[in-house]
Amino acid sequence: MRLRTIGLLLGVLAIFAVPVVGRAQTAIPAAEIIDKLTAADDTAPDVDVAALKQQAVDRIKAKADAQQVKRPLIAPQLTKLTQVRFDIQFDPDSSLIRPGSYGMIGSLADALSDPKLQPFKFLIVDHTESGGRRDANLTLSQRRADSIRDVLVSTFKISGKRLVALGLGEEQLQDANKPAAPVNARAQIIAFGKPDVVEPKPAAPAAAAKKGAAPAKKKR
């Protein structure tokens, strides 16, 4: 009788002892994101997002810098800005965010909702590791950056005016010596000044996004 009671007690406890939140991917805590991004000053950095997109398209079209290991960063100025790098898992060749990364997006949303970060605008940059077609990777990374932005806006109601999405494909390798390394596929969120200071110009349509562009062979 006593054993059964203990069993019942343990059973009930077990139900509530299960962590409320299981994690498939460890999200960067919002507090850490806030700490890093609040280090940015209020002045808008000199970054022309539309020009960067066009530059990436032109470089791929011209087949310039074909060798990945010798390819210069397309936007070296971004590396100097206050930022946090994070992993988001997507379905292969898709901009669908894997459920295991929902927590990371939620953590970003928590950080962006914090009063300390509310004065700022942010650039969400997605990258792909090298592999498959360069133009397809550029398109894919733009779609993925858009997808992260869309979820922050639609699910967590972060103001769209504060978020600019930029895909740089494999044109900004973090580790050029290992072009296929997963580290090159990390996304960035960059503090980008105040919303009323910088307004993005409409992006030129990417050549890679034209109808008929072959899908990327790479998967991640």
Binding site: V20, A24, Q25, P99, G106, Q118, P119, F156, K157
Partner: protein
């Protein structure tokens, strides 16, 4: 009889953790959907992104095959996200007195107004403080 008492006692002890589900952070709520529903999303909602309307609709539409854990957790998680968003939307209205009397100089600037409000919680009314807590700012 004793067993029932013990079970009731344990439930009473655990009740606060159930109530706190209402105050999940975005990260906790999003992780909850991801952890509890990953397989169900893969199996039934492939192609649907983390969008509250479409994903909820898909999981609801497939409730006959969606796991019990997912069925229990996704409404709670999306509800927590929505409650926090609503609390943030209505915060300034519920704290109107505080904004007029304690933060009037900065009330036109949303970020500075909010920061001022959070710095003034000791002087704020009970209702305003409740609203601040519901919005997850404390």
């Amino acid at each position: 009889m004793n067993r029932i008492r013990i079970a009731l006692f344990v439930l009473a002890v655990c009740a606060p953790s159930l109530a706190s589900a209402q105050a999940l952070k975005f990260e906790e709520a999003a992780s909850l959907v991801g952890a509890s529903c990953a397989k169900d999303i893969d199996d039934n909602c492939r192609g649907v992104n983390f969008d509250p309307t479409r994903l909820k609709e898909c999981l609801y539409r497939n409730q006959d095959v969606v796991s019990a854990k997912c069925q229990a957790d996704y409404p709670r998680a999306f509800s927590a996200i929505q409650q926090r968003i609503t609390a943030r939307t209505t915060l300034m209205k519920l704290c109107n007195w505080e904004m007029n009397h304690l933060c009037s100089e900065v009330r036109t600037d949303p970020a500075k107004g909010l920061q001022c409000l959070l710095d003034s919680t000791k002087k704020a009314t009970g209702n305003c403080n409740k609203a601040i807590a519901a919005a997850g700012y404390r």
